[in-house]
């Protein structure tokens, strides 16, 4: 009987939370959700939606920093970690997000691969991005990031090579002009003495 009451109460709580989420009353929904049973299979999705909504509210009202502070201790699912990572990129605090993910044990870190890739992409660290995408595995998603990062890195290397080529041409031109100017002054001197 007690269990039945609890189930009904939980259903009512989740229904109310659903209404609040639709009305974008995220912070109130978050407070109400604290009363719900975490073991209920519906709980996880409600929790993720609510946390995401509160983070968005904080972001609008108090800035990206407040959203990061709120999300940091709660980012324990791939979706929430990705939201945390995105918020870090919007705030320009990619390194903070990377540090959080890299501190995790390897198996757990792999769960958050999408978040880590997002952060590395935002930092334009193509070498690290390629390395991490290779380490993640050989699935199509990881492989597409390997290809993207490899192309970006190779393109960057070609651009660097052309930058060096420009420098060498400039140095060569300077040398040639110096030699020409020196030879010209010698000619003038020879003309004067003759």
């Amino acid at each position: 009987m007690t269990a039945l009451v609890l189930v009904c109460a939980l259903g009512a709580v989740l229904d109310r939370v659903e209404e609040m989420l639709e009305d974008e009353q995220f912070e109130q929904a978050y407070a109400l959700l604290a009363q719900a049973d975490e073991n209920d299979p519906r709980f996880a999705s409600f929790r993720a939606r609510t946390i995401s909504g509160v983070a968005r509210t904080k972001q609008r009202r108090d800035g990206y920093g407040a959203a990061i502070e709120f999300l940091e201790p709660l980012a324990d699912t791939p979706d929430l970690m990705k939201l945390y990572a995105l918020t870090c990129t919007w705030a320009g605090e990619e390194q903070r997000g990377l540090d959080k993910i890299r501190r995790l044990p390897d198996a757990q870190r792999r769960q958050y691969a999408a978040a880590e890739i997002e952060l590395l992409w935002s930092m334009h660290d193509f070498a690290a991005l390629e390395k991490r995408a290779r380490a993640i595995g050989d699935g199509a998603w990881a492989q597409s990031w390997v290809d993207y990062a490899k192309n970006a890195r190779e393109l960057r290397e070609r651009f660097d090579a052309r930058t060096r080529r420009g420098s060498w041409v400039a140095i060569g031109a300077l040398l040639a002009l110096t030699v020409a100017a020196f030879a010209f002054t010698r000619l003038c001197r020879a003309e004067r003495t003759s």
Partner: protein, 488 residues
């Protein structure tokens, strides 16, 4: 001066025309002139004929012809066939424009520098040396002034950069011929020089070698502001080609994308601006000022996706060549609710009455990478605020590689200083753009439902700092360069 300005106009198709390119051109040309003066002085001391003067004029003229013909190909070889990414471009274009200036312009400008003391030497046969030197320098400086204005306002817009350099080279050859004839009274050599001078007439410029590889060039126009190109991009994975308006070297950036019935969205940053009437609560009638109209993508999207809204759009574009290119190739048409004005955005806004607009959209860029300095200061944002009705909004497209980088924070701080109201940023995930917005005397509303490119999710309040740009202090190009390099 025609060579100096011609150099930057010649280079802009390959290296752009940032302050770094200008610095290389001015620095190298001044060094060449300095060396030329010194060497020419020595030469003048050991000669008493007109031959050296003829030689340097003819050398500079022939070299100028060589530059006009082979210069663009040399620049294209230095830059390579692909469009640069913004973070790689600045360093590459600095070294490449330095190399190109040294190879293409140092020698002829050194020769022209030599001409000055040689002319003084020749003139001193007729006048006292002080008067001769003064006269030569005065004539030279007046020639430079004429060269600046003639090149910028007449020659480049009508003939193009390469024909302008050819014309300058032809004038030098003609001068060489005249000096030779005055000294020797023989017609053979001058006649040959005059033939060489007029040979290039009728030759037309071609910019089809510019990147990206595989693109189809539809139109190229040279204006005092930029090299305007309309290209059909290389086909994407689905075989579709997008039509882009690109400026100068391109660098993988676009300044307008054509929209149509078949492709009503651009899949680029413009899409995030489409529902601005609902955003500022002016669904029925919306008065908008677009600063940086280009080919009119923004205005087109606004009208296409808000069919019930009555618009009154002032579309401001500083470069008439851009509008002409858009009319000829990108379907830009006159419309009773869009007024296209060719004027500087700030000057235009200053002339408008207060509280005129529901929304001001800023999408103006100078030299590809940075917002024009005059449109990035506290004073400009104060002006923009005064031209908005209370509750109206300013919407700025900011191109940046780093969502939370120094450029984004600086512009947001400056907007806050100008308006005194909260500024919001909305990075567009997957794009190197973000939307910055602020309302007059109000909190800016969140983006309306349906706003594209994840702007609804990334929309966040900017916590203001003290990186404020003013008319007195606005190093926007340096800040942009730092941002591209990831330096805070």
């Amino acid at each position: 001066m025609i060579f100096e300005f011609g150099a930057t106009y010649l280079f802009r198709g390959s290296f752009g025309q940032t302050v770094y390119v200008w610095a290389n051109v001015i620095g190298v040309i001044l060094a060449a002139l300095a060396l030329g003066y010194a060497l020419g002085g020595r030469w003048a001391d050991v000669t008493n004929t007109e031959k050296p003067l003829v030689a340097v004029l003819v050398f500079a003229g022939v070299y100028g012809l060589f530059v006009a013909w082979f210069g663009p190909a040399f620049c294209a070889w230095l830059a390579g066939p692909e469009e640069y990414t913004q973070d790689a471009a600045l360093d590459a274009f600095f070294s490449q424009s330095l190399a190109a200036t040294l190879v293409l312009f140092f020698a002829p400008l050194a020769a022209l520098g030599m001409a000055t003391p040689l002319m003084v030497q020749r003139a001193s046969a007729h006048w006292p040396v002080g008067r001769a030197a003064g006269l030569i320098f005065a004539v030279g400086t007046v020639g430079s002034i004429i060269g600046i204005y003639l090149t910028t306002f007449t020659l480049v817009p009508t003939l193009g950069a390469r024909a302008t350099i050819r014309l300058a080279a032809a004038v030098l050859l003609a001068l060489g011929a005249l000096v030779f004839w005055l000294g020797r009274r023989k017609a053979g050599v001058p006649a040959a020089l005059m033939v060489a001078a007029v040979l290039p007439i009728g030759w037309t410029a071609d910019w089809s070698f510019l990147p990206p590889q595989g693109a189809k060039l539809l139109l190229a126009l040279e204006s005092p502001y930029q090299l305007v190109r309309v290209v059909d991009r290389p086909p994407d994975a689905d075989g579709k080609r997008q039509r882009w308006l690109a400026f100068d070297e391109g660098m993988g950036t676009y300044h307008s994308i054509q929209v149509s019935e078949e492709t009503p969205w651009t899949d680029a940053y413009y899409d995030a601006f489409a529902y601005i009437p609902a955003w500022v609560g002016s669904d029925e009638k919306c008065r908008v000022c677009i600063v940086g109209n280009a080919a009119g993508t923004m205005a087109d999207l606004l009208k296409r996706h808000n069919p019930l809204t009555e618009f009154e759009i002032d579309a401001i574009e500083i470069d008439p060549a851009v509008t002409e290119a858009a009319r000829r190739t990108m379907g830009l048409q006159d419309s009773p609710d869009i007024r296209i004005v060719h004027e500087d955005g700030r000057t235009f806004l200053r002339k408008q009455p207060g509280e005129r607009y529901d929304a001001i959209i800023m999408d103006a860029y100078a030299r590809q990478v940075s917002i024009p300095a005059s449109l990035a200061t506290k004073e400009f944002f104060e002006l923009a605020e005064s031209r908005l009705r209370p509750g109206g909004g300013l919407f700025v497209n900011l191109g940046t590689l780093r969502y939370g980088g120094v450029l984004s924070k600086t512009i947001a701080d400056t907007m806050h200083a100008g308006f005194g109201d909260p500024v919001y940023r909305a990075p567009m995930r997957g794009y190197f753009n973000q939307l910055l917005t602020v309302a007059r005397d109000a909190e800016m509303n969140p983006p309306p439902r349906g706003t594209r490119l994840d702007v609804t999710y990334s929309f966040g309040r900017h916590l203001p700092g003290n990186r404020v740009l003013t008319d007195d202090f606005c190093p926007i190009e340096t800040i942009t360069a730092r941002d591209l390099r990831g330096i805070e």
